[in-house]
């Protein structure tokens, strides 16, 4: 079998440069394995060849994350490796953070397999687990002799693109992501068997534990409504005719804002529905049905509030991933706040 070319990342301590006194050294590299790297090679029975070991002080990495990755990425790219192994970092927080961030960067920018190992409470875990595999370890380097063989065998699977089992089977920290796989039995058959087990009192395992949603506390009430600037916003996909920014009909990749300062109502034919999840005919006929500009202007004239905001923010909330929706919500909220808006009427479909 062809040797697997590995880059190994370690901190100043495992790099045998020094302890806390040397934690501020900038990144450097040595050709070949250093310390644990030699264990990795021997454990792989020579299948892994550590072509370069990158070493950096924990403080330097944690305090200069951008410079840290910017310096190291070219060092990795130029040796064209098959794999990056970072750590193991155990419970060392700064070290774990460096391992997690470096793995994440290399995985997303270079697309090569990456692996780290650390304690589940290491801050590096939460930073990187959605993007990379991190093997679970205890909190101290005493178990290194047990961790290295696990890293080697799991890394081998990553390089060979072998099927990866569940977190329990493989010993990695659950990443909290769901991937598509093929089952031996079709879904209906699995449902019938699950029901029979449930009826007969036999253990069964749900395929989808209920997700947990965030709770958003309502903002305090507007104290003097007649002095407030109010915005109207919608996830109903009301966009200018022709959908100039091409908001997708489903799982929208963006939100946009369009000016309404000069108009008193949305005229038929000048707006359209970009949303793919509801019957667009009534709102095409009268876009105010989804974005009630006409009614908002009446309220404005009646002095219910001081002024309507000059733009309306819009996206398509149709099977849109919650992570995207959270991001758009935060961005829209920040914009409105910056522009002095005190209240918003968000219409849904």
């Amino acid at each position: 079998m062809k040797q697997i070319r590995v880059i190994h990342y370690i901190n100043q301590f495992f790099g045998k440069i020094g302890g806390e006194d040397m934690a501020s050294i900038p990144p450097r590299f040595e050709e070949g394995p250093v310390g644990i790297g030699e264990m990795i090679v021997s454990c792989s029975e020579g299948d892994f060849q550590i072509v370069r070991t990158i070493i950096c002080g924990d403080n330097f990495a944690a305090e200069n994350l951008e410079e840290f990755t910017k310096t190291i990425l070219p060092w990795i790219e130029e040796v064209d490796p098959d794999l990056l192994i970072a750590g193991p970092a155990f419970a060392a927080g700064r070290y774990g953070t460096a391992c997690g961030i470096l793995c994440q960067e290399v995985h997303t920018k270079l697309g090569i397999p990456v692996l780290s190992a650390m304690h589940p409470l290491n801050p590096g875990v939460d930073l990187a687990k959605k993007d990379i595999f991190i093997l679970e370890t205890g909190d101290s380097a005493r178990e290194i002799a047990r961790v290295v063989p696990r890293m080697v065998s799991f890394a081998r699977k990553l390089v060979l693109r072998a099927e990866i089992g569940s977190p329990e089977e493989e010993g990695y920290i659950p990443r909290g992501i769901r991937i598509n796989v093929r089952d031996q039995r079709r879904g209906s058959r699995r449902a019938v068997e699950m029901l029979i087990n449930k009826l007969e009192g036999t253990p069964f395992e749900t395929e989808l534990p209920m997700p947990v949603f965030d709770r958003v506390p309502p903002a305090p009430a507007i104290s003097v409504l007649s002095e407030a600037v109010i915005a109207i916003a919608t996830e109903g996909g009301i966009v200018p005719q022709g959908n100039p920014d091409r908001i997708e009909a489903h799982n929208a990749s963006k939100w946009c804002r369009y000016p309404i300062s000069d108009i008193s109502r949305l005229e038929k034919g000048r707006y359209e529905v970009a949303h793919g999840g509801y019957d667009p005919v009534p709102a095409t006929d009268d876009p105010n049905r989804v974005l009630p500009l006409d009614a908002a202007r009446v309220c404005e004239q009646d002095g219910l509030f001081s002024r309507l905001y000059d733009y309306y923010p819009v996206t398509v909330g149709n099977v849109t991933a919650v992570r995207s929706a959270e991001k758009y919500g935060r961005e829209i909220g920040e914009m409105l706040k910056k522009d002095g808006v005190q209240g918003v009427i968000l219409t849904s479909t």
Binding site: S188, A191, L195, P211, H250, V319
Partner: protein, 453 residues
């Protein structure tokens, strides 16, 4: 059974039953297995080949004056063909008896007992409706390559109707014309070969509840709740030809679904809407029937419409509970139709059922984002502790160019699952599997699922 109303001497009406009580009739599916599909000057079956008279079928479709033009094309498994935008897929079926029809309520009055008697199935072929896009919700079928792995329709002989509406036709009218054209074609094909001998016969006993209770008194009684969206353009289903928007939940015999009692006008989204084919071949019904009399007593199917307003969801949820309780159900499977707001209905019914001692399994799919990291459902309830998932519709997929497109490739920019720029310069497509017909089907007809890593 004959019912006559007699007037008694006191003048009050009295129902009197005359004659003996008749049993419900058996239901028989007769399958002609079709392994080749081609055009010819006469619609007929020879061996396992179906030949279609293109002109005759076109004329029938063009009887609808809202349709300006129809082209017929064939897409076979393994061919380098891409069908887009696909609205519905229908399996050709018809009844043997005069005056009875598959798809009851569509070709005449539903004045006969559906789901009983004999029905012919043309097995191995489908009618696919395509042509100019109605809205955003239509999908894609690839006949080969990686896209074909996601859809059972890629393994069928597909007769594709490419329908062009007359200029200026409204969206609702356009949808209706395409839906009816598909049913007409399916009906035409099956009824044209009614005289042929069939390859396989499948018999279903259609029984009264009294018989079922007496026959299997010790088996847990199970109902199946099959959601059907009823929310407007390309989000509607039809019960016996009626738009389900105004309906309350209907109790059906499993065999009624096989006769086309539920017809799909629903396209949202391609991956997880039930086409008419899915309703005709409901795999949950099939798998429940397989266990019927062995480990469960399968009582029937409740088909509730799914509306948008919470008040309607609650009203319908209570009606579903009432029917299940009147039947004395011990267990239930609830399948979702579509995604997003139907999850509220799903959770309402699961909550009702579990709180009333009806053990429940729900079957759904997920929109967990392309990275799989988002919560995949729009609503949840702790009572939903037994869930089957049919995959994450947001998964990205790259589909290579095909030699031929049936329909309009540019629709990919607009359909659910596609986006501006989905069509790459070399003709390949980057999209989400949400745009592939039936890829995460929530009746569980495929074997895709998710696992947590």
């Amino acid at each position: 059974m004959r019912i006559e109303m007699e007037r008694t001497h006191s003048g009050t009406a009295l129902w009197q039953v005359q004659g003996s009580k008749q049993k419900l009739k058996e239901f028989v599916l007769r399958r002609i297995r079709v392994m080749e599909l081609d055009f010819s000057d006469r619609t007929h079956v020879r061996g396992h080949s179906l030949y279609v008279n293109r002109e005759e079928l076109s004329e029938i479709i063009l009887e609808d004056k809202s349709i300006a033009r129809v082209d017929l094309a064939i897409a076979r498994p393994g061919e380098s063909k891409r069908i887009i935008p696909v609205k519905d897929v229908i399996e050709p079926r018809c009844k043997y008896s005069e005056g009875e029809d598959a798809f009851p309520g569509f070709f005449g009055d539903a004045n006969f007992p559906s789901g009983q008697g004999e029905t012919l199935v043309l097995d191995g072929i489908t009618v696919v409706t395509s042509g100019r896009m109605v809205n955003f919700q239509e999908g894609l079928i690839d006949m080969s390559g990686p896209g074909a792995e996601y859809s059972l329709f890629s393994g069928k002989l597909n007769l594709v109707l490419l329908i062009e509406p007359v200029e200026g036709l409204g969206k609702h009218e356009h949808e209706r014309s395409v839906r009816l054209a598909g049913l007409k074609a399916a009906h035409y094909l099956a009824s044209s070969v009614r005289e042929n001998k069939w390859d396989e016969e499948q018999r279903f006993l259609v029984k009264s509840l009294v018989d079922l209770y007496q026959e299997f008194p010790n088996l847990p009684k199970v109902v199946y709740v099959c959601q059907a969206i009823a929310q407007g353009l390309l989000h509607d289903n039809y019960f016996y030809g009626l738009n389900a928007q105004g309906c309350l939940p209907v109790l059906m015999n499993p065999t009624e679904l096989m006769d086309g009692a539920v017809v799909s006008g629903n396209c949202a989204a391609p991956c997880h809407k039930h086409t008419t084919y899915h309703h005709q071949n409901n795999p949950i019904v099939e798998d429940l029937l397989r266990e019927h009399g062995k480990r469960i007593n399968f009582l029937g199917v409740i088909v509730p419409p799914v509306r948008t307003a919470l008040a309607e969801k609650e009203r319908i949820g209570y009606q579903v509970l009432k029917l299940a309780q009147m039947l004395g159900s011990d267990g239930a499977i609830i399948s979702e139709d579509g995604g997003g707001n139907p999850e509220a209905d799903l959770m309402i019914v699961a909550r009702h059922f579990e709180k009333n001692g009806i053990r429940t399994v729900i079957i759904t799919d997920e929109y967990a984002g392309s990275d799989g990291a988002s919560p995949g459902l729009a609503d949840v309830t702790p009572e939903a502790d037994a869930v089957v998932t049919n995959g994450n519709g947001n998964q990205k997929v790259k589909l290579p160019p095909m030699d031929e497109t049936l329909g309009y490739i540019e629709a990919i920019d607009h359909i659910t699952g596609g986006h501006e720029g989905s069509l790459l310069p070399d003709g390949s497509i980057e999209m989400e599997i949400a745009g592939i017909m039936g890829s995460t089907n929530e009746l569980g007809i495929e074997n895709l699922r998710t696992v947590a890593i």
